[in-house]
């Protein structure tokens, strides 16, 4: 059981006096990120939605959402699930196993989906009628 807590986040930029304070600090940070996501989702800045500005087939706004989600996931796992206080070996076993498998699955499935999309678009199959 890890009774000692590491009491700083953002690589030491934000230090806390107690674990309880750290929890509230992380909550504030997560709320700020969620607020940014919601505001972006409501305003939808036009240049972030243009297909011309898409990166790797995904609109820039969606990239921002995904990155912010990963940031949130990091702080939930590290501070709420105490991964920050666990041994490095345990942390790596927990984190890298799913990351590797999911990245592989997503890569394969999305490439395949894009291929099927092209087959549909180029008129080999009639489906939109």
């Amino acid at each position: 059981m890890a009774h000692e807590h590491k009491l700083e986040i953002f690589r030491g930029l934000w230090k806390f006096k107690s674990n309880t304070q750290k929890i509230w600090g992380v909550l504030a940070f997560l709320c700020v990120i969620t607020a940014i996501e919601v505001v972006l989702g409501i305003i939808k800045p036009e240049f972030l939605l243009k297909n011309d500005n898409a990166f790797l087939g995904l609109k820039l706004l969606n990239w921002i959402f995904i990155i912010l989600t990963l940031v949130k996931a990091y702080y939930i796992a590290w501070d709420f699930m105490h991964l920050r206080d666990e041994k490095t070996s345990l942390r790596r076993a927990i984190v890298w196993t799913p990351i590797f498998l999911v990245a592989y699955l997503v890569l394969i499935l999305l490439l395949e989906a894009d291929y099927i999309y092209e087959v549909f678009r180029d008129g080999f199959v009639t489906w939109n009628f």
């Binding site: 997560l30 969620t34 969606n62 699930m81 927990i94 699955l105 989906a113 999309y117």
Partner: protein
């Protein structure tokens, strides 16, 4: 083979009694479960991504689907889901505060924080149920074509969605709902929708300010990213291929657009809601154990920490579901 030689306590790696990963058996097993469960959810979300990329130009726009807030009329995309997300994050915080209080052996604090966590979880599950109800009931109604695509209606002047009920004509007909009292051999038939295709088309002809909106998303130009709105003539032609009226959504028909969207909505949020529900139940069990003083006697509150891991995981999954279902 001589495997029982003990030369010193530090070298006794395989003799048991030490914890190479610095975590107890129970905690390790919880992590095992969470990693495998994470892969299950990833499988579902990746399948969602697959279907979405396959139909990238016709997929429903989530902002137009989830627009309701309980007790309030009007169009508020995102607001309620954002609130649900906030509720779940806050219940995650009360959970981690309970774990923290457990480390410091403060029984009453643990009881209160666990209680708040359970309340937060219950509110979230309730909101989820309400969201399902609204989604199943539907908004405006639509027509489904022979190819299974959806035709929705918009007002040409305001550009806003038009509900079938507002413009469809009522034509007297012999169409009646088949009920149990009318047949000797009654099989549950599909409920008739409020209007027939014919009534909708006649109503459409009588209202020159209504036109059809298809599933296709405009790919370039001024209206990029919006659904295609047809002219009246094209719309009338398109209406010829309509086969049935769709109101609301289920696993087979979906008035919001692609049926796969509804299928994944039910599967993914349903699977997550199931996790939240079981989380609330496990939290309740641990809550009563804390109240009874079980962990006080045991000398440590590790069970609270383990159930906490599960609860945070549920929150973590929701963060991803929120992004991929409602934001992206």
């Amino acid at each position: 083979m001589d495997s029982t030689v003990v030369t010193g306590s530090e070298e006794n790696v395989w003799g048991g009694g030490n914890q190479p990963l610095g975590a107890s058996y129970g905690k390790l097993m919880m992590w095992f479960f969470l990693v495998s469960d994470a892969l299950t959810f990833s499988g579902l979300l990746a399948a969602y991504g697959f279907s979405r990329f396959k139909f990238i130009e016709t997929w429903p726009i989530a902002d137009e689907v989830f627009t309701h807030v309980p007790f309030v009329h009007g169009n508020f995309p995102m607001i309620y889901v954002a609130l649900m997300t906030l509720i779940l994050i806050i219940s995650s915080v009360t959970m981690v505060l309970a774990v923290d209080a457990g480390h410091r052996m403060k029984k009453n604090a643990v009881i209160w924080y666990m209680f708040l966590t359970i309340i937060g979880g219950a509110i979230f599950v309730g909101s989820q149920a309400w969201e399902w109800g609204t989604f199943i009931k539907g908004d405006f109604g639509a027509l489904e074509t022979k190819g299974g695509r959806i035709l929705q209606f918009v007002d040409t002047e305001t550009g806003e969605r038009a509900a079938i009920a507002d413009f469809a004509k009522t034509i007297p007909s012999e169409r009646v709902n088949h009920e149990r009292k009318n047949g000797v051999w009654f099989y549950n038939g599909e409920e008739l929708p409020s209007y027939s295709v014919n009534e909708v088309i006649e109503g459409f002809k009588a209202h020159p300010n209504i036109t059809v909106r298809t599933e296709s998303i405009v790919q370039e130009g001024e209206k990029e990213g919006e659904k295609t709105v047809l002219s009246r003539t094209d719309a009338l032609k398109k209406l010829g291929s309509a086969t049935q009226v769709v109101e609301g959504a289920n696993l087979i028909h979906n008035e919001y657009g692609s049926r796969l969207f509804a299928d994944f909505f039910f599967f993914i949020t349903g699977f997550h809601g199931f996790h939240v529900t079981s989380g609330v139940v496990i939290n309740l069990i641990i809550f009563f154990n804390v109240v009874l003083g079980t962990y006080e006697k045991r000398g440590h509150y590790e069970m609270v920490e383990k159930v906490g891991l599960y609860w945070h995981f549920v929150d973590l999954v929701w963060v991803f579901v929120f992004t991929f279902f409602y934001l992206v």
